[in-house]
């Protein structure tokens, strides 16, 4: 059994409520931080822990905190990014729905470290019932004296509120999230200046993922050093993984970083292997934006080493033979999946979610979607595959925010690893007329028609 830090109390009946949460040691980190530690000491513990941002980018949380502008004297804010919208990711929702006070406790302790007196949780609009759960939990925390003026008699004031979005993936990008919190369209801002200097209402702001903030109470109570003992190398601690697709046990799992992909996928403690025992075809290990891996690169890296659930191991080999841990959205595909169709599906998503600000992304994502759609439906041309490659390479790196990169990477990886499948669609249009074309005749059975072996 792996160690549980975030989900260790999730099965206690009534843990959603303030009373039960408090009886089980809840809010102890607030007491410890406010009464026994300075804000800088809290930040130091988080730095020592090696905790990396759990939203996808993996940037060290403590380092991010240390960038906040404390000299200007302007009010500071902590904003929790609960706009979880990356396809394949549903861990934050689980945490907020079942143990909302853990996030609130983390928000108080983290706000104290940053010297913020007004903080927000920005939750996606579709999670409206979770918004209501958090609203009620915040009211309970106010009533119990954990929020408001002069918390625990220490002189520290904090107001915390929950704010809802309204259905825009782009608002998960931190500057777009800030724009949205200001009541505007979610168009990302050009960086620099970074939010740590010019964020919400031009005040210094830190934006952190739900899971990152929910980890802070444990670090404060048990020390950063203890946290850093879990995991391997620069991948410290535990990570929530949202598992979906063709597996026996989909759901949210907390794992110690360093667990092997093989054990995670196949042991009964975790995913329990493939649904209906069909062959594994591909894996997206960190949410839709990260490169897809073909079966031969899932359990072993290109060097033949075991692939582990860590930031480093999953990206081993770069984009040529690796991927990324990302947000931990672990999507498994079996042999009935059509990679072209799936890539089209992702491209439709990015086209739909592009904010329209940068031309390469606004136009490029539309081109990707249309071309993939025609290939998938048997109207593709041989030169379309090169065209797709060319378009994705012209989006990547040429946009204000990373949505452009996120739209390019899945297309590039699909062509890199599954080029034969694209060729098959172009050359045998009559065979791909129905959307379930690989359900009765998986690609492995018709691969020989393309006439090449995979390189």
């Amino acid at each position: 059994m792996g160690r549980k830090i975030l989900l260790d109390k999730i099965n206690i009946p009534g843990i959603k409520t303030y009373e039960v949460y408090r009886q089980n040691g809840g809010y102890a980190s607030v007491e410890k931080a406010l009464k026994q530690m300075t804000p800088d000491e809290v930040t130091e513990e988080v730095k020592t822990s090696g905790l990396r941002g759990r939203g996808g980018a993996g940037f060290p949380t403590g380092l991010k905190w240390s960038f906040i502008d404390k000299k200007s004297g302007r009010p500071r804010h902590l904003v929790c990014n609960a706009d979880e919208s990356e396809p394949g990711t549903f861990k934050d929702r689980y945490l907020m729905e079942y143990i909302p006070h853990l996030l609130i406790e983390g928000m108080i302790t983290s706000s104290y470290a940053l010297g913020a007196n007004l903080s927000y949780i920005y939750i996606r609009g579709e999670y409206m019932w979770v918004f209501k759960i958090l609203e009620r939990a915040i009211k309970e925390a106010y009533a119990a004296g954990w929020l408001g003026k002069n918390i625990l008699g220490t002189g520290y004031d904090l107001d915390l509120h929950v704010h809802c979005g309204a259905g825009a993936y782009i608002c998960g990008e931190e500057t777009a999230l800030i724009e949205s919190l200001e009541g505007k369209r979610g168009n990302p801002r050009i960086k620099p200046p970074f939010p740590a200097v010019n964020g919400l209402w031009q005040n210094p702001t830190v934006v952190n993922n739900v899971e990152s903030i929910a980890t802070v109470p444990w670090i404060v109570l048990n020390s950063g050093e203890e946290y850093a003992k879990i995991g391997i190398g620069r991948s410290t601690g535990t990570k929530l993984i949202s598992a979906s697709g063709h597996i026996k046990n989909p759901g949210v799992y907390e794992i110690e970083l360093g667990l092997s992909v093989d054990e995670f996928m196949n042991s009964d403690e975790y995913l329990g292997g493939m649904l209906n025992d069909r062959p594994l075809k591909a894996l997206v290990p960190g949410g839709s934006s990260v490169p897809i891996l073909p079966a031969n690169l899932i359990f072993k890296t290109a060097n033949g080493e075991d692939r582990l659930m860590t930031y480093e191991s999953l990206s081993d080999g770069g984009f040529a033979t690796g991927s990324m841990l990302g947000s931990g959205g672990f999507i498994v595909y079996n042999d009935t999946t059509c990679i072209v169709r799936n890539t089209w599906n992702f491209s439709r998503f990015y086209h739909h979610e592009s904010c329209g600000q940068c031309t390469p992304c606004r136009e490029g994502t539309g081109w990707l979607e249309k071309i993939l759609h025609r290939i998938e439906n048997g109207h593709g041309r041989e030169e379309d595959i090169e065209l797709l490659w060319s378009i994705q390479s012209k989006i990547e790196g040429n946009t204000i925010c990373p949505l452009g990169d996120a739209a390019s990477w899945p297309v590039a990886a699909a062509i890199r690893h599954f080029r034969e499948e694209f060729e098959y669609h172009v050359r045998f249009p009559e065979k791909v007329k129905n959307r379930d074309h690989f359900v009765h005749e998986p690609f492995e059975k018709v691969r020989h028609l393309v006439g090449k072996t995979i390189v």
Binding site: H161, A166, G183, I331, T337, F349
Partner: protein
């Protein structure tokens, strides 16, 4: 060209309860940052007005928040959860992104549309149901799924869809958590 604002009419009714809720939301932001409350306020106002926002209603929101109408229009048109036209009482929003597609949402949407006699994006003539495909709702492990109002209905199959339709017709489905 006839603008849509002249086609669809909406009765605007900002009840005292709704106004109290709006004021509560406004209290979450600094006094000079009323505009920040725009998204949460629009959700509340839309929920209280048959789940859509006419131009007149958007103007009303602008008035309450002391901002220009264009600042509301540009936001309403950006975010997908705000409807600018009347929709069915029960909007079935099926997640159609990869993980749900992998677990058969496309077939299930076809089934639902056939059963209701409409195409995707359409509303039944009695104004009861609208079926739309939306992008990832963050329920990938519980696919296929759909959202009705504030709530998710997960691990769906044809029988469960039949039951949901029957429950909607019988008025047994809660739309909003108030």
């Amino acid at each position: 060209m006839i603008m849509e604002k002249y086609i669809y009419k909406q009765d605007i009714n900002i009840t005292p309860e709704l106004m109290a809720r709006i004021n509560e939301l406004l209290s979450h932001y600094p006094e000079d940052k009323k505009k920040s409350a725009l998204l949460p306020v629009l959700h509340e106002v839309q929920d209280a007005h048959d789940n859509w926002l006419s131009y007149e209603l958007q103007d009303k929101v602008a008035e309450i928040l002391e901002i220009k109408p264009i600042e509301v229009y540009e936001v309403v048109s950006f975010y997908t959860m705000f409807n600018q036209k009347p929709i069915g009482k029960y909007m079935f929003e099926f997640c159609r992104t990869s993980c749900c597609a992998t677990r058969g949402v496309e077939d299930l949407m076809d089934y639902t549309c056939n059963k209701l006699g409409i195409k995707e994006g359409e509303t039944t003539v009695d104004g009861m149901f609208t079926v739309v495909g939306v992008e990832c709702l963050g329920a990938c492990g519980y696919a296929p799924m759909m959202q009705i109002g504030d709530f998710y209905h997960e691990n769906l199959n044809q029988e469960k869809v039949d039951q949901l339709i029957a429950d909607c017709r019988a008025g047994k489905i809660t739309l909003h958590d108030k």
